[in-house]
């Protein structure tokens, strides 16, 4: 980034993102919110009222699009944490401008994760039964169930992500509270918890962030491993694969990085001022990660298929046939390979990294490809289980299409509200990045 920015300029630029809001922004936000209600909440209410029967789920295919989106958003949630936590610990400098955005993405992605769990459940009003709490009947949750693992993994992940996000934000909130007025001032003052910028406070903040960074880092690996065990711990052909934990984690990071790239690119277009802080340098670094992850992912995908072929049982072969050789899934599989294995390799060309193609098109394809990966695993494997008599295809209904789309709108509208309340770029961290001569001139 441009190291000739002054502290003042940085503060004003970033708080400007919060305070300067045009009518266009409101219009888009309203549109998004209305879409979220009509695509997500109304169909969901309809589904709760009439039951899961409004979906296309059926006797062998009990896990459909909702579970696909659940895993998908867990994956998206991963890059945020990786960028901020892992790179925080290693003190990688290029993370600073993009870390807050990525963390925010994690937070809302995790929000959607829990939303999809509720949407997926037959009786969501009883969700709290999945948590262990003392009760007079002495019923505990089943600790052997991967679903219980999920509850803990995602619960822990969400809590620590929120804390990490919040701890990192305290200095910024304090600095914002100086200039803000009205409810914002009250909010920032309250949330900054009396931050005055003393040495001791900086010291503690850094320590806390380091602690949570270190705490979250293994979670990145474990959460998606646990999610993959939802499948890997079953006996279903196509699910029961030992490669699933690394496969899912890699895929999650790949989609997460693509998500971060896309989000930053969109924000840069929406707020040209951000171009000062998120520069070609950042694209350079993130895209290299994408290339590496894509290569690992390709290897693991190959392994997934090859182990199935090597097993050479009727179950595995029929499952692979269904996935690889029968339309429309063969096309989807080809599209998945194209977007996840072929396209990201183009980042090898330096010129592409910061082009429109590299900033928008490739991330979108990777996001689609990763979604397809989950789709080709979750409902597809169930369509070809052990007893051929019960084989049945799955075709999602409009409700199942509508709710994920609405969830995306909901994600965007929450994000847009967040941007208007909290700094999407860490002010103090950006300032740390500013060249020494410029620091004085505020």
């Amino acid at each position: 980034m441009d190291r000739t920015i002054t502290y003042k300029e940085a503060s004003e630029d970033i708080s400007g993102i919060i305070t300067k809001t045009g009518w266009k922004y409101y219009a888009v936000l309203t549109l998004m919110a209305v879409s979220a209600v009509s695509f997500l909440f109304l169909p969901w209410a309809y589904q709760i009222y009439s039951g899961q029967g409004v979906t296309g789920l059926n006797a062998p295919v009990f896990w459909g699009l909702y579970l696909v989106n659940f895993i998908y958003w867990v994956g998206i949630a991963h890059a945020g944490t990786l960028i901020s936590a892992m790179l925080y610990i290693t003190q990688t400098p290029w993370r600073r401008a993009i870390a807050r955005g990525a963390e925010t993405m994690t937070f809302f992605a995790l929000f959607l994760v829990s939303l999809f769990i509720f949407v997926h459940m037959g009786r969501p009003w009883n969700f709290y039964w999945t948590m262990p709490y003392p009760n007079q009947r002495q019923i505990w949750t089943n600790f052997t169930s991967p679903i219980t693992f999920d509850v803990f993994a995602i619960g822990t992940y969400t809590t620590s992500s929120i804390v990490f996000l919040f701890f990192g934000m305290i200095p910024d909130l304090a600095s914002l509270s100086h200039t803000a007025t009205g409810w914002r001032k009250r909010l920032y003052t309250a949330l900054s918890f009396g931050w005055r910028g003393t040495d001791r406070q900086w010291h503690l903040q850094a320590k806390a962030c380091m602690f949570f960074g270190a705490f979250i880092m293994p979670l990145v690996v474990s959460v998606h491993s646990v999610v993959s065990w939802d499948f890997a711990l079953s006996v279903v052909p196509g699910y029961a694969k030992t490669v699933f934990a690394p496969y899912f984690v890699t895929g999650a990071l790949l989609s997460g990085f693509a998500g971060v790239l896309l989000m930053l690119s969109i924000m840069r277009e929406a707020y040209p001022v951000m171009k000062k802080y998120v520069t070609a340098y950042h694209y350079d670094k993130v895209t290299i990660f994408v290339v590496v992850l894509s290569l690992i992912w390709s290897y693991l995908t190959l392994m997934e298929v090859v182990t199935g072929l090597y097993a050479n049982t009727s179950q595995e072969i029929e499952h692979l046939k269904y996935k690889l050789a029968i339309s429309p899934f063969s096309y989807l599989f080809a599209l998945m390979i194209f977007s996840n294995s072929v396209l990201p390799l183009l980042y090898i060309f330096k010129k592409l990294r910061n082009s429109f193609f590299g900033r928008f098109i490739i991330p979108v394809f990777v996001l689609i490809g990763m979604w397809l990966e989950r789709f080709l695993i979750v409902p597809n494997s169930l369509s070809r289980k052990f007893l051929p008599w019960m084989w049945h295809d799955y075709s999602p209904t409009w409700v199942e299409y509508s709710i994920p789309i609405g969830a995306l709108f909901f994600f965007i509208s929450m994000f847009m509200v967040f941007i208007k309340v909290f700094p999407i770029i860490a002010i103090f961290e950006v300032k740390e990045d500013i060249g020494i001569p410029m620091r004085k001139s505020h």
């Binding site: 059926n58 062998p60 896990w63 037959g122 991967p146 711990l233 006996v235 008599w389």
Partner: protein
């Protein structure tokens, strides 16, 4: 500290005792002679009648949401005129190492003292995990609030709950009949006799292909048949240890002398 650990390990030893979890009051088993079964479907209807299974109609059937807890699978080998048709009734296999039981986060499905894999409807939150894990595809879900058209609701069996929307269900080996027999035996101060419990499908089976009994009672008909050299269990390679034992169909191998 050491004393504490000792106390703990001492207490755990009770559970570590080999076979502790296999100590069952009964081990209900169904033996199905595939050489007798002719695939007529009487058992399927008996199950509908006994267990208040809803009739879902053509559209839902097309989505593979028919409620049959018990189904008869039919496999056809070969081309005309060398056609071989095989029938096999498949219901919940009540696996002793049930894949579904590990999946449920809330213990809505668990193994009881009778060796049955039971489903607690009220506890079910509907995560579908059990049904996904089940290799036999025998679990059925209440996709909607199914209605029994008036006055067909008069036929509902009062011994069996009508399940509400959003819960998973499956074959129970007619647990209500097992309960009734156990209660009666208890009232009379004896144990349940062989042949006293007949699930609806077994009771109705016209060819007498299905036998039900307690595997722990060595004199029961089921226990004797379970030792037949024709015995096998469905998808045994998965090691789910099912309680349903099939007796092999007697059938010529290779092409038959048709035509």
């Amino acid at each position: 500290m050491a004393g504490f650990l000792e106390r703990i390990t001492e207490r755990w030893k009770v559970y570590r005792e080999p076979g502790f979890f296999k100590k069952l009051d009964h081990k209900w088993t169904m033996v199905i002679d595939l050489d007798k079964c002719n695939g007529c479907g009487a058992c399927v209807l008996a199950c509908y009648a006994e267990n208040n299974l809803p009739v879902v109609g053509k559209d839902e059937c097309a989505m593979s949401r028919a409620f049959s807890w018990l189904r008869i699978e039919r496999y056809i080998d070969g081309e005309y005129p060398d056609v071989k048709v095989k029938f096999i009734p498949v219901m919940c296999q009540h696996c002793s190492k049930a894949p579904c039981e590990t999946g449920c986060p809330v213990y809505a499905t668990y193994h009881n003292q009778d060796g049955l894999n039971v489903q607690v409807y009220n506890r079910c939150v509907g995560t579908f995990t059990c049904a996904t894990y089940c290799p036999y595809d025998v679990r059925r879900f209440n996709w909607r609030s199914y209605k029994f058209e008036q006055p067909l609701d008069h036929q509902l069996n009062p011994d069996v709950t009508v399940r509400e929307m959003g819960v998973m269900e499956k074959c129970t080996f007619c647990i209500q009949r097992i309960r009734a027999a156990k209660d009666k035996a208890k009232d009379e101060g004896r144990t349940v006799q062989d042949g006293e419990v007949l699930p609806a499908c077994v009771q109705s089976c016209p060819t007498g292909a299905m036998i039900f009994g307690d595997l722990l009672d060595p004199n029961s008909k089921a226990a004797k048949l379970a030792k037949s050299p024709r015995r096998y269990r469905l998808l045994e390679e998965l090691n789910a240890d099912p309680s349903v034992i099939y007796l092999k169909r007697v059938m010529k191998e290779g092409p038959s002398k048709h035509g």
